[in-house]
């Protein structure tokens, strides 16, 4: 059963990622990204990493991609790049070669090894049964590890987030005195009535 779910989710992820790469419209790309992220969340659930799946949906799909969409809207949706031609010579073929090479090499490594060769840590197995006989929640296990073994890294990431927010605010604000008026929608205030009449006349004939 899990294998089937894995297969479907893997398919969803692949389609989504290919869609991101090949979409002309940035909004379409963002939506394909959400698709891919959802697929990854399902894959997390398959291995019972419940907490991570939740985080994936909330943070990645819910916050980061929304942020992307806001920026797309801020900078204009109707700017499409020309996907037919690449101005840098040799970029496209070499990029394909690089990608294929990376995939092939990783494939070779993964398949040549019989299973995982790494060592499991003694102190942090993923316990499915707690001391009182009940299964332990995944979030609890993560919390146990993070707040004991990796507490310094945790605090550092908190600091990192603070710095990132401050930096983003500083960088993205407008310099004072630079207010631009909102772009006008033609015909909104009825100034082009003549044009409309001309149009009407043409249409009418």
């Amino acid at each position: 059963m899990t294998e089937i779910i894995f297969g479907i989710s893997a398919f969803i992820v692949l389609v989504g990622s290919i869609g991101v790469v090949l979409s002309r419209n940035p909004v379409h790309a963002a939506l394909f990204l959400i698709q891919a992220l959802f697929g990854v969340a399902v894959l997390f659930l398959v291995v019972e990493a419940h907490f991570l799946a939740a985080i994936q949906v909330i943070v990645y799909a819910g916050a980061i991609v929304i942020l992307f969409l806001f920026v797309i809207m801020l900078l204009g949706v109707d700017r499409y790049e020309d996907l037919r031609v690449d101005p840098i010579m040799g970029q496209r073929p070499l990029a394909v070669v690089a990608g294929a090479a990376i995939f092939g090499l990783l494939l070779a490594v993964i398949l040549s090894v019989d299973g995982l060769t790494g060592e499991a840590s003694v102190t942090s197995p993923i316990d499915r049964v707690g001391p009182d006989g009940n299964s332990v929640a995944d979030a609890r296990q993560l919390a146990d590890t993070i707040f004991t073994d990796h507490v310094f890294a945790f605090e550092a990431t908190g600091l990192l987030l603070t710095v990132a927010v401050v930096g983003a605010v500083v960088m993205a604000r407008k310099i004072s005195g630079d207010l631009q008026p909102l772009p006008e929608i033609p015909g909104q205030n009825g100034e082009d009535a003549e044009l409309d009449e001309a149009d009407d006349a043409e249409v009418g004939e």
Binding site: I88, Q91, L94, A95, A98, G99, A101, I102, L105, L106, A108, V109, S112
Partner: protein, 729 residues
């Protein structure tokens, strides 16, 4: 007592420093006395050092005093130190002694000069440099002094540099010396490379282990340095020009001290010269004696009193180099000391003469000065007898020793060396006698007009007559016109009378012109020694003759004559230093023995020695006699001896300047081109290659993020490939 050696160079240095700062404020004559005191104190310290050395055992007479370590550079270590041994003490004694006398002399000689204090600044600096040269315990200190004396020589020769000739002479001295310095420097490098040290004690100690080739190289390179400093052919040409400096400078630097530095250097490294191959030392000997003869021939035809002495110095230095070349170092030092005395005396005496003759240096204008300057004349004659090799004066003993050593080297080579030396001795006697006879004896010629002035007078006479002729001709023309213009017969008659008178006057003037011209053509050529006769043209003699007629020569003040007397005394007795009669009288040889690596043994028999000495005396006598016959008795024609080629110094100067201006210049331009294009070109090419390489590589920095990303991915692919290969192997 040997510790007093520190004061020997220190006092002149302090004198230099003091005078440099307050000299112009001290003014005349205080600056001069201060300088003299400094070097006088140095002399006393030298005497003290000598006493200290005498009190030691004969075996213990080499004392090294280190002041501080100057160059600690790994394997190469050079100290500032003094080597107090018999040779250096002998040198400092006569350098400081003569220096004191000459400083004293200069106080009087430079009286009235506006740069009085500067002169003594330079003199003290020179004394310091010379003393460092002599006292240094290694080649580098000697080189420091070597360069220092060259520098001071430049300063002092071009002391009156506002006259371009003097400035050029100073430059010439410096540049020529520099050529020699190159030899010295390369010798230092070679010594360090082979022996590992440039200290004299080390050199003397390890000289025996040197290969002949290396020893020859060092010896010849040092000889090149000596050639420059001691004015041997071909680097002698600066010395005659150096007479442009004040006469005491010529006495101190170019007679007694600086020029002996080359001989001193070669004597210092006599251990190395001993190891050099025979042809090299023979070459040194032949260059020395050849230069001696060469310079002596030139001195015969010089008319400037100082130029004669300059060439004489070159010639006597040649004798010293000859002695060094045949290994007779004691003889060389002996001759150096005696020569210092009588040559300094000669120069100072000539300075006195020049001072008394209103700065006129042409000997043809002198004559009969004995009556006016008795002390100068007497001391000059003592020096003359010394240099001519008349016993028992000092020069005879030293020169004879050198000739004997030359003969003693044996074979045809030794005999030839002796013969050339003998001929030079004859010439020396001749030209020095010529100088003395022309200056002090004979008729007082100063008021005589010379050839050019008489010619000018005759031209004046002819010119004046021609002018009056022209005047008469115009008068005739005017009278003729008057006759034409006269209307009445009375006026015509009066005018005709005028015309007749005018014509008569004109013919008279014409005849006067004819007489003058005839007289000019046939005027009697005076006998040599007779005054140039101006005859009827005497009224037309130029002003310079009349000025000279007013002049009265006078004796010099005591500051100038006292050193002369002292030096004359030394010129008489200095021979006692090393009389050849018995071993016991060889004071100088015994004294210098610790400084010499090998004993120089004379193998000639006693009878031969006496014979050679008699021949030398005879040669001197012949030279004096011929000069006597030519310049006092006027029986021989002087022009036979004073040939133009000799007066022009065998055209050597012109040859050198022509070569340097022509092919030399082209060579220098070629070398400059090479330096600017090949050497600088290589360096610049390296720079521009780096620059061009950078420009080429810089094209990778396109600024495109995606290109950078592509580069990174391709790189990571490569890394992955490598990892995979590692895992699979």
């Amino acid at each position: 007592m040997t510790d007093l050696v520190y004061f020997v160079p220190l006092l002149p240095l302090l004198g230099f420093a003091t005078l440099l700062v307050v000299g112009s404020r001290l003014g005349e004559p205080a600056a001069g006395w201060l300088a003299t005191l400094a070097i006088g104190g140095s002399f006393l310290a030298a005497v003290g050092t000598w006493i200290g050395l005498v009190n030691r055992d004969e075996d213990d007479r080499v004392v090294e005093k280190i002041v501080f370590e100057w160059v600690p550079a790994g394997r190469f270590s050079v100290d500032v130190g003094f080597l107090v041994d018999p040779l250096s003490v002998a040198m400092i004694l006569f350098v400081t002694g003569l220096g004191t006398l000459i400083h004293l002399y200069s106080i009087g000689y430079m009286h009235g000069d506006e740069n009085y204090a500067k002169y003594f600044v330079y003199l003290n600096l020179f004394a310091f440099s010379m003393l460092m040269l002599v006292l240094g315990n290694n080649l580098l200190i000697t080189f420091l002094g070597w360069e220092g004396v060259g520098l001071c020589s430049y300063f002092l020769i071009s002391f009156w540099f506002t006259d371009e000739k003097n400035a050029s002479a100073g430059k010439k001295a410096f540049v020529t010396n520099r050529v020699g310095d190159w030899g010295f420097m390369v010798a230092m490098f070679l010594t360090f490379a082979t022996i590992g040290s440039i200290s004299y004690v080390d050199i003397a100690g390890t000289a025996g282990q040197l290969s002949t080739k290396v020893a020859t190289g060092i010896a010849l390179l040092l000889f090149i340095g000596a050639m420059g400093k001691s004015a041997q052919f071909p680097l002698y040409l600066w010395l005659p020009d150096a007479m442009a400096g004040p006469t005491p400078v010529s006495a101190l630097i170019h007679a007694a001290t600086m020029v002996t530095a080359g001989v001193y250097l070669l004597t210092r490294v006599n251990a190395v010269l001993y190891e050099a191959s025979g042809w090299a030392t023979n070459l040194i000997a032949w260059v020395g004696v050849g230069t001696a003869l060469f310079a002596a021939t030139i001195a015969v035809a010089q008319n400037d009193i100082k130029k004669v002495l300059a060439y004489s110095t070159v010639s006597q230095l040649g004798y010293m180099i000859l002695a060094v070349g045949v290994g007779a170092y004691v003889a060389a030092i002996f001759h150096m000391i005696t020569h210092a005395f009588f040559k300094a005396l000669l120069f100072l005496g000539s300075g006195s003469v020049i001072h008394g003759m209103d700065n006129d240096q042409d000997m043809r204008r002198y004559g009969g000065l004995k009556a006016f300057m008795p002390i100068t004349a007497a001391t000059f004659i003592v020096a003359w007898l010394a240099i001519a090799g008349v016993p028992p004066f000092a020069g005879f003993w030293s020169k004879d020793e050198i000739l004997l050593s030359a003969w003693d080297t044996g074979g045809l080579n030794g005999r030839l060396l002796w013969l050339v030396g003998l001929i030079t001795a004859l010439l020396t006697a001749f030209y020095m006698s010529r100088q003395v006879f022309m200056t002090f004896f004979g008729r007082y010629r100063y008021a005589d007009p010379d050839e050019d002035e008489v010619t000018a007078a005759w031209s004046g006479l002819v010119g004046a007559s021609t002018e009056s002729l022209e005047l008469a001709t115009t008068t005739v023309a005017a009278a003729t016109a008057e006759v034409e213009a006269a209307d009445s017969p009375e006026e015509k008659a009066a005018a005709s009378v005028n015309l007749d008178n005018a014509i008569a006057a004109e013919s008279e003037a014409r005849s006067r012109v004819e007489t003058a011209r005839e007289a000019q053509r046939t005027r009697p050529i005076p006998e040599s020694g007779e005054p140039n006769d101006a005859g009827v043209a005497v009224d037309f003699l130029p002003e310079t003759v009349l000025a000279r007629a007013e002049h009265h020569p006078h004796e010099s003040p005591w500051q100038m004559t006292m050193p002369l007397v002292v030096l004359a005394g030394f010129s008489v007795v200095a021979g006692l230093l090393n009389l050849p009669f018995t071993k016991g009288l060889h004071f100088l040889e015994q004294w210098l023995e610790p400084a010499l690596a090998h004993e120089h043994v004379i193998t000639t028999g006693a009878a031969t020695k006496w014979l050679l000495a008699l021949i030398a005396i005879a040669a001197g006598a012949v030279g004096i006699a011929v000069a006597f016959r030519t310049y006092i008795q006027r029986r021989l024609d002087a022009d036979k001896f004073e040939r133009p080629v000799l007066a022009q110094a065998w055209y050597y100067d012109r040859t050198v300047s022509d070569f340097m201006g022509g092919p030399g210049r082209r060579l220098f331009d070629a070398i400059t081109w090479f330096d600017a294009n090949v050497i600088d070109g290589a360096v610049n090419a390296a720079g521009s290659a780096a620059s061009r390489g950078g420009n080429f590589v810089r094209r990778a920095q396109s600024g495109f993020v995606r290109s950078y990303a592509l580069g990174m991915s391709l790189g990571s692919v490569a890394l992955l490939v490598w990892f995979v290969l590692r895992i699979s192997s």
